[in-house]
């Protein structure tokens, strides 16, 4: 793997938008957590012209952290499945969102929207939330507190590790990785019941 590229938000968001697929990135600066229920509210508020923040050049992190234990800046945090947010993503990229952070594969519509709006999808690793929490400097709820774990939280990251999983040309890391590492022969050869 190549050395990671350090990106400081918001100053270097235009660089982030242009990074090629597969680039390892250490992300610093503010991002906003948003998962299922957050998206419902955010898109409704956006359509009504009362969004709680200006989404232009922002980064959305598909995450619902645990509460912070006493004396810690943030709780355990990691990505949730990005595919569940696919239905809303083209709308949010059109509103100016520069990047989304999550795990897992995305729809064709999200690939197309990344190309159309010059946005990227960043993948990080699920199930390592204690480690990723050490890359969060602060967390502050900015909207939808009543949603509990699904509130919109402004999170200040510090060298948070991600990979460019879909770039602004629509190239996909998950597809490329599978193509590279799949066994050369069909592992289910002989199966006739699919």
């Amino acid at each position: 793997m190549s050395d990671p590229v350090r990106i400081c938000l918001p100053a270097e968001v235009s660089v982030l938008r242009t990074l090629p697929v597969g680039t390892p990135v250490l992300l610093s600066g503010p991002v906003y957590t948003a998962r299922d229920a957050t998206h419902v509210r955010l898109v409704a508020d956006l359509d009504a012209g009362v969004a709680p923040l200006d989404l232009r050049d922002q980064v959305l992190f598909y995450a619902g952290p645990t509460p912070a234990a006493a004396g810690r800046p943030a709780g355990a945090v990691g990505p949730t499945t990005a595919g569940r947010m696919d239905a809303w993503t083209p709308r949010l990229l059109a509103a100016g969102v520069a990047a989304t952070i999550g795990k897992g594969v995305r729809s064709a519509a999200v690939h197309a929207a990344c190309v159309e709006h010059g946005a990227v999808y960043l993948a990080t690793v699920g199930g390592i939330a204690a480690l990723l929490a050490t890359c969060v400097r602060s967390a502050e709820t900015v909207a939808y507190a009543e949603l509990g774990a699904e509130a919109l939280v402004r999170m200040e990251l510090d060298d948070f590790p991600v990979w460019v999983a879909i770039d602004a040309h629509g190239n996909d890391l998950y597809e490329m990785a599978r193509a590279e590492w799949a066994a050369p022969t069909d592992p289910v050869a002989g199966g006739g019941c699919a």
């Binding site: 793997m1 229920a37 995450a63 619902g64 952290p65 645990t66 509460p67 912070a68 234990a69 810690r72 709780g75 355990a76 945090v77 990691g78 949730t80 499945t81 990005a82 595919g83 569940r84 795990k103 897992g104 594969v105 993948a123 690793v125 699920g126 199930g127 390592i128 939330a129 204690a130 480690l131 990723l132 929490a133 050490t134 949603l147 509990g148 774990a149 699904e150 590790p161 990979w163 890391l173 998950y174 490329m176 990785a177 599978r178 193509a179 590279e180 590492w181 799949a182 066994a183 022969t185 592992p187 289910v188 002989g190 199966g191 006739g192 019941c193 699919a194």
Partner: protein, 279 residues
């Protein structure tokens, strides 16, 4: 004789342990994979998973922010007489463990008609089965939404046979494996009825990774499935490699002459369960 309080206390302690401690069998398999995985990105992901487990254990921080729904399976000795109130006592234990441990509340009041967080991670999902003798085994699993969502169930026709089961399992991992936080432990249930085959797949996840299968035939199928799944190339974190799963566990059961039920319950890289013997 056991009381509902004994079982609730076991659940409370198990939640605290499971949320912050990688299962020892999973940790061993993960460390082995971190040396054998040929993909550089894959090895990097595996080493982060190993590092995450040590930070979580050291600092008492959850392994994963999705601290799950709570599944409790009590295998109760038939000679025990618990009396009433088991469900209430278990829910009280869940409420206490989630608040005390600063775990995430992830339960909706109703899936469709009242999608509001209950705020205390109750209700727990409880099964009680009866076995001979005294005492009880209490299994507690904190099940993440991402891996449960990636799970599948089908009522195959008996003619599909072993090949049909293999195709079903491999297709399930191929379609959803990258979202389920690989490397996975793949629980496969075969047989029973429509409602019980999913439980069979979940119970398969309780078996320690590296322990023997229930029969030579199951062991042979597990080995075949593991090779096929790891041939998909999904790899650790979905970033490519040969360790898409650490293990495939198969549990089979009797079934109707017309049926071949099969279910896949995905266990994520932070598979969290604790099994406690009470006497």
């Amino acid at each position: 004789m056991l009381t509902v309080h004994d079982i609730a206390e076991a659940v409370r302690a198990a939640i605290a342990e499971a949320a912050t401690t990688l299962r020892p069998d999973v940790a061993r398999a993960m460390a082995d994979a971190a040396t054998s995985e040929p993909s550089g990105a894959g090895r990097e992901v595996l080493s982060r998973i190993v590092e995450n487990a040590s930070i979580a254990a050291r600092d008492g921080v959850p392994l994963c922010q999705d601290t799950g729904t709570v599944w409790v399976w009590v295998e109760l000795g038939a000679d025990e007489c618990l009396g009433g109130g088991l469900g209430t006592a278990i829910d009280a234990a869940v409420r206490d463990a989630y608040r005390t441990g600063a775990l995430r509340m992830s339960v909706m009041r109703d899936a469709l008609f009242e999608r509001v967080n209950t705020g205390d991670n109750t209700p727990a999902f409880v099964d009680v089965t009866v076995r001979p003798g005294i005492g009880a085994t209490v299994h507690v699993m904190l099940k993440g939404g991402g891996s449960d969502n990636a799970s599948r169930l089908a009522m195959l026709e008996p003619a599909a046979g072993v090949e049909g089961v293999v195709s079903f399992v491999v297709d399930a991992v191929s379609a959803k494996g990258s979202s389920a936080c690989p490397p996975l432990i793949v629980g496969v249930g075969v047989g029973g009825t429509f409602d019980s085959v999913g439980k069979l797949a979940k119970k398969a996840l309780l078996r320690p990774v590296g322990s023997p299968a229930v029969s030579p035939a199951a062991a042979e199928l597990e080995a075949r499935l593991l090779t096929a799944v790891n041939g998909l190339g999904i790899g650790p974190g979905g970033l490519g490699g040969r360790t898409t799963a650490l293990a495939v566990h198969v549990l089979s059961a009797p079934c109707h002459i017309a049926s071949l039920p099969v279910a896949v319950n995905m266990g994520c890289s932070a598979l969290r369960s604790v099994s406690v013997e009470l006497t």
